[in-house]
């Protein structure tokens, strides 16, 4: 994991290769058979395809297996799920899941336009919609349907920025006060500047393997993947039967929990997607932690414990890999100032892509 931020001095290949090597060092220097790369925008922002060959060779592993995965914000989680399936299939012994995104190669408006590619270009993008405007449209309908005002987002945002203060890899580490939040400029009404995550560079990687291949001395640090699921919903907002139901999030959560044989009440830690504050609200309702209209009333203590996309920063295709790495740190007791009280034994990690059109969930345990 590298700090999220503006790495003007590092290219895409260097960012990715460094995260891979850090993860391998952490694993007790395992030798990978495969590197699965989650990335969203290299084609546009770095004019670079086929990252599999570029980054894996740069990391020092010509000859191994590699390719790139894209599922918008959930790209890194898609790579991680693929790593789990590859190992479970027996065809791969040691796989790395890397999430990497290089945003600062271009000016901000190019990066913004690239992010908007997760919309339906023909029927959303060309009509002038942007991703944050799409989130705002969902949020507006939510507030109207439940007779609420936009202050319901305040707690979610404040907590994310507060959690990020203790995270040395986070981009926003000064926190924000209620007063500052309430004076924020609107990004797209009813979502303000602090309700929408900011794009930034980042790279984070995890090593996936079978227990018996882990060196004895590293085995205490091992975290198990107990369940994994990926589900999609219609990409376009106008194609959704129920705009306020994040269907992919419910299906993916239920399916991952079922595979793990666990329920939400067993979870000590929840890492929920917060690219926009409304995402947290609807994810909480979708996975069943809140009833409809009350997802904003959440106790945020064990949510986005290292700052989430809002506080940590949002390196798109890499963000879901950060979620997973951060969860591993919490479960190992290595989360430093972000460490939650009781060492979590089980964790629920859900990543969303494309305004809830893709949801990938992992259940981690000891």
């Amino acid at each position: 994991m590298l700090p999220v931020g503006e790495h003007w001095d590092l290219s895409l290949r260097t960012l990715g290769a460094r995260a891979v090597r850090k993860a391998l060092a952490d694993s007790g220097n395992l030798q990978p058979d495969a590197i699965y790369i989650g990335n969203g925008l290299a084609n546009i922002l770095s004019h670079q395809a086929n990252l599999g060959a570029l980054i894996s060779d740069e990391a020092g592993f010509p000859g191994i297996e590699s390719c790139t995965f894209e599922a918008a914000g959930a790209s890194g989680a898609a790579a991680f799920r693929a790593a789990c399936m590859a190992v479970q299939s027996g065809l791969v012994d040691i796989a790395i899941a890397l999430g990497v995104e290089k945003i600062t190669e271009c000016d901000g408006s190019t990066a913004q336009a690239a992010q908007d590619l997760i919309l339906n270009y023909e029927f959303e993008g060309t009509n002038g919609l942007t991703v944050s405007a799409g989130a705002a449209i969902i949020a507006q309908r939510y507030l109207s349907e439940y007779h609420l005002d936009r202050s319901v987002f305040q707690n979610i945002a404040l907590q994310s920025y507060q959690h990020a203060q203790g995270n040395p890899y986070a981009m926003y580490r000064n926190g924000i006060t209620e007063a500052i939040y309430q004076k924020q400029p609107m990004k797209n009404h009813p979502l303000g500047l602090f309700d929408v995550s900011s794009l930034a560079d980042g790279a984070a990687a995890l090593v996936v393997t079978r227990e018996e291949l882990i060196p004895e001395e590293s085995r205490d640090d091992m975290i198990r993947v107990l369940g994994s699921a990926n589900a999609i919903a219609p990409l376009s907002l106008h194609d959704r039967h129920q705009l306020l139901q994040y269907r992919a999030a419910s299906q993916s959560a239920a399916s991952a929990l079922r595979k793990a044989g666990l329920s939400l009440s067993n979870m000590d830690l929840l890492e929920i997607w917060d690219a926009h504050a409304i995402d947290v609200v609807l994810a909480m309702e979708a996975i069943g932690l809140a009833i409809e209209g009350e997802g904003w009333q959440t106790d945020m203590t064990t949510l986005s414990s290292m700052g989430g996309c809002l506080g940590r920063g949002n390196p798109l295709g890499a963000s879901s890999a950060y979620q997973l790495v951060e969860t591993v740190l919490q479960m190992r007791g290595e989360a430093g100032a972000c460490q939650i009280g009781n060492l979590p034994k089980t964790a629920f990690v859900q990543s969303l892509g494309g305004l809830g059109s893709t949801a990938i969930t992992h259940i981690l345990g000891h």
Binding site: N127, G128, T130, A133, P234, H238, L243
Partner: protein, 133 residues
């Protein structure tokens, strides 16, 4: 927008031509091969009336390239009277504040200024408040 795509989407953009499912009578926009209601094939053209109401909306001030001369603008999900929802800009708003439930109707307007990109200037549907009278 590039010429081939523009040509392909012309009917849909200029006159809100969608489909009606021959199996379950669901009205469909944008057109697609498979009816999202019943899962069967749907290819019968259907002309929408262009009348509907605002389902939700927001305002865009930091518009993307090609839309900047229109900013700030309101963008909405519009629920058509026939059922489907479309994403579109609102226009001709005057001093009336946008609200959920506001009746609107389709008009054809310039959607995007291509700037230095190659290709045609893009026209298509926007929605305006229904005139009282």
């Amino acid at each position: 927008m590039e010429a081939p795509r523009h040509w392909r989407l012309k009917k849909q953009r200029y006159s809100l031509t969608g489909e009606v499912c021959p199996h379950c009578s669901a009205k469909i926009f944008p057109p697609r091969d498979v009816c999202p209601e019943c899962g069967q094939e749907a290819k019968t053209a259907f002309q929408f009336s262009g009348k509907g109401e605002v389902f939700s909306y927001t305002a865009i001030t930091d518009a993307p390239a090609g839309y900047q001369d229109q900013a700030p603008y309101a963008i909405a999900l519009v629920k058509l009277n026939e059922g489907p929802i479309v994403t579109a800009q609102l226009t001709d708003l005057g001093t009336e504040p946008v609200r959920i439930g506001m009746p609107v109707e389709m008009v054809t307007r310039r959607i995007k200024d291509d700037g230095n990109e190659r290709g045609v200037i893009l026209y298509g549907y926007k929605f305006r408040p229904v005139m009282q009278g």
